[in-house]
């Protein structure tokens, strides 16, 4: 027990070890967190009327961010698969950082759901046993199960590995091996279930297309790894962690394939909608060309398409993929492109035109944007603090006390 408490303080101390830029970074994030929190208090007080959501478009920026982040969390699998199944050494060593990102992304997802709820204090109603979870009928209940399960699996793996490393021991694959294998289909499931959440609604023709779940997975395999590539470069620069260029280029190559699939699926959807031209194609018309002069999403969608296509070519050719300037440009383009496409570009057209044919143009309010930035800042802070423990343990600088020593 004594060593446990001592170790806790050793771990806690890590938070305060840092140079000026670290403290500035934390202060920067804290500023946005506080700003977001105060906007949220106002929302709690006045209700969701502080957002631009209304009965016609009843989900907006929060659920968009939720959807995007489920994809980011699922993409950790892209690192796990080659690392453990094919024993690709350069990636295997950095899987840990991908899993920490998955944990962070899921926590952010939960926050985005909470701020979107009209009665957040009643959140326990959704739990099994103490609440009245509507399982298996409601897809939202499924989402609660798979997301929390995914959070648990990744937390156990990451913290077990870190714990073993921290007491100076190698981790045992017999302990986490089955969990790692389980995490692969589970990662696919969190994104599939989230896609089915929208997909299963016959009231919304734009979502009610079987291509939705495959498109979800394809775009997740673009955005998640793109975020990781940027993070790896930062980690590599800011710490003693060595990340092989080979790992980075391999991931970039995988992104190119994922993007090819993503663009193909988008094309398949666009063909069906525009060529057959039934009444169900109003939503996609609204997205790319506008409807009855309402065009607020049009420039965003074309920008997203342009970004995704450009990034695809940057990642396709080894020459641009292995040049860090073009690689990073590609990453940023993909992150923005998928964020638009999978966020507002997916959620809003499900509601436009609404079920009675009305077109309500949704555009988030300042309050929504500030709360969203606040949650992103929370996510960045969580990841920073997780790295504060993980990096020194990983590099061998931080070791806990054990009885033997």
């Amino acid at each position: 027990m004594g060593s446990f408490i001592r170790n806790f303080f050793i771990a806690l101390r890590q938070i305060f070890i840092g140079d000026r830029s670290y403290y500035l970074w934390v202060a920067f994030l804290s500023f946005f967190i506080l700003l977001g929190f105060s906007a949220y208090l106002d929302q709690l007080n006045r209700g969701l009327i502080t957002t631009a959501m209304r009965d016609q478009v009843s989900w907006g920026l929060f659920i968009s961010n939720f959807t995007f982040l489920v994809g980011v969390a699922a993409a950790a699998v892209l690192l796990v698969v080659p690392a453990y199944l094919y024993n690709f050494k350069p990636i295997k060593e950095i899987v840990l950082f991908g899993e920490l990102l998955a944990i962070t992304a899921i926590l952010m997802c939960i926050l985005f759901i909470l701020v979107d709820m009209g009665q957040p204090l009643r959140v326990w109603h959704i739990l099994p046993f103490i609440g009245a979870m509507h399982f298996p009928a409601s897809l939202l209940a499924w989402d609660v199960v798979v997301l929390n399960g995914y959070l648990a699996i990744n937390s156990i793996i990451a913290f077990y590995v870190l714990y073993r490393l921290s007491i100076g021991k190698e981790y045992s694959m017999t302990v986490i091996g089955p969990l790692i294998i389980l995490s692969i289909p589970w990662a696919v499931s969190i994104h599939t279930v989230t896609a089915f959440l929208y997909n299963g609604l016959s009231s919304r023709p734009y979502w009610n297309a079987s291509i939705l779940a495959p498109r979800f997975l394809a775009s997740a395999f673009c955005s998640g790894p793109a975020i990781m590539l940027v993070l790896f470069q930062i980690i590599r620069k800011r710490s003693a962690v060595e990340i092989d260029n080979k790992a980075i280029f391999k991931i970039a190559e995988l992104i190119a394939y994922a993007m090819a699939v993503n663009l193909f699926l988008l094309g398949a959807e666009a063909f069906k909608e525009f060529y057959s031209g039934g009444v169900d194609s109003y939503s996609i018309q609204y997205l790319y060309f506008g409807l009855h002069g309402k065009t607020s999403l049009v420039p965003w969608m074309w920008a997203a398409s342009l970004f995704n296509v450009t990034a695809f070519f940057l990642f396709l050719f080894p020459k641009t993929r292995e040049n860090f300037t073009t690689l990073n440009i590609g990453c940023v383009l993909i992150i923005i492109g998928v964020y638009i496409e999978k966020g507002m570009g997916l959620i809003v057209p499900g509601f436009v035109p609404d079920t009675l044919g009305e077109i309500y143009e949704y555009s988030p309010t300042t309050s929504e944007i500030v709360i969203t930035m606040g949650i992103w800042a929370v996510g960045a802070l969580i990841y920073t603090l997780l790295l504060k423990f993980a990096v020194p343990i990983y590099t061998g600088k931080l070791r806990f006390e054990t009885k033997e020593r």
Binding site: Y40, L41, L44, N45, R46, G47, L48, I49, T51, M53, R54, D55, Q56, S58, W59, I113, D116, M117, G118, Q119, P120, L121, R122, V123, H125, I126, G131, A132, M133, H134, A137, S138, L139, L140, A141, V144, L197, Y198, L201, S202, S203, R204, V279, Y282, G350, F351, P353, D354, T355, L356, G357, E358
Partner: protein, 308 residues
């Protein structure tokens, strides 16, 4: 019952401040609780409506009556009448009669204690231009505002909750806060709804409405004859919808919209009773239901009584 902590000389917090405190994660710590907050905790720990026994329901109803009487300064009755056995409610709407006057819309608001600021309407009347496409409702106009109705070149179609036999909203709800009662009415436990709005995404008829802020309505405009699952006042952050005026129809009365219609376009009755008005309409007119392709099986029938 749960023990409620009461402190006589505690600091008096209003509910708003209290909610803020709760949000800060301070709930359950040494926050002093006054009487109003005791009722807050009672409603916080309230069980799902269908899991309560009759005694527990009675207790909840009297608590709500107390709360409402304090708030609106008048005698309030909150009922919980159960579905009558052998009754399955159905609704008919004669499109050839409807003149688009929206009297039903406002009668509904009066009856069901909706928010007037901001406005919440459970009935939307859609206007279509004669001879134009109307199957997908895309050409409909909800905000028409002429001097006089009916207008020469238009016809009208009121839409409200269709009380589907296979309701997609009920399936969607992650907390079972909404369900279909044996008389076919889809109801909501406003004390159990978490405000996720998944049901609104699932509803093909735009019948579900959300309280984006605290409902605004003057105390003198409150209808004191209430039903727990029907027209009792809602709070911000929950979903509400048409219940065929459950507080009326389970006591043998017509829904308010049926009574208000000046041209007799609205029919209502028991689908299981061969002599009911609604059965007459179904058997003698050519009825159709909205968006039948979705297999929601609405119990809301549209028809044309005369003309072609």
């Amino acid at each position: 019952m749960r023990k409620i902590v009461k402190k006589k000389d505690g600091i008096h917090l209003d509910r708003r401040t209290f909610l803020k405190g709760a949000a800060l994660g301070l709930a359950g710590t040494a926050l002093p609780l006054n009487k109003a907050d005791a009722s807050f905790w009672e409603s916080f720990f309230q069980k799902h409506f269908r899991e309560m026994n009759d005694a527990e329901i009675k207790q909840v109803l009297s608590r709500l009556e107390r709360e409402y009487e304090e708030k609106y300064k008048k005698t309030i009755k909150v009922g919980s009448e159960k579905a009558i056995p052998g009754v399955l409610f159905g609704y008919g709407l004669d499109l050839s009669r409807c003149i688009g006057c929206r009297k039903c819309v406002y009668a509904c608001v009066e009856e069901n204690n909706q928010s007037k600021d901001p406005q919440i309407h459970w009935i939307s009347v859609l206007r279509f231009k004669k001879g134009e496409k109307w199957v997908d409702l895309e050409e409909s106009e909800k905000y028409y505002n002429p001097e006089l109705v009916p207008e020469q070149d238009y016809f009208y179609m009121p839409v409200q909750c269709q009380q589907c036999e296979n309701p997609p909203c009920v399936r969607a709800c992650p907390t079972q806060a909404t369900w279909k009662d044996p008389d076919g009415i889809v109801v909501i436990d406003y004390n159990w709804c978490i405000g996720c709005r998944y049901c609104m995404a699932a509803c093909p008829y735009g019948a579900r409405h959300f309280n984006w802020t605290e409902p605004g309505r003057k105390p003198e405009e409150i209808n004191p004859q209430m039903h727990y699952l029907g027209n009792r006042p809602r709070v911000k952050g929950v979903v509400e919808k048409c219940t065929f005026c459950v507080q009326r129809t389970r006591n043998g009365r017509y829904p308010a919209c049926v009574e208000a219609c000046p041209v007799g376009a609205r029919k209502f009755g028991n689908l299981l009773d061969p002599n009911s008005e609604i059965r007459y309409a179904i058997e003698h007119k050519r009825v159709f239901r909205l968006k039948e392709d979705l297999n929601t099986y609405p119990k809301f029938y549209y028809f044309f009584a005369y003309g072609v």
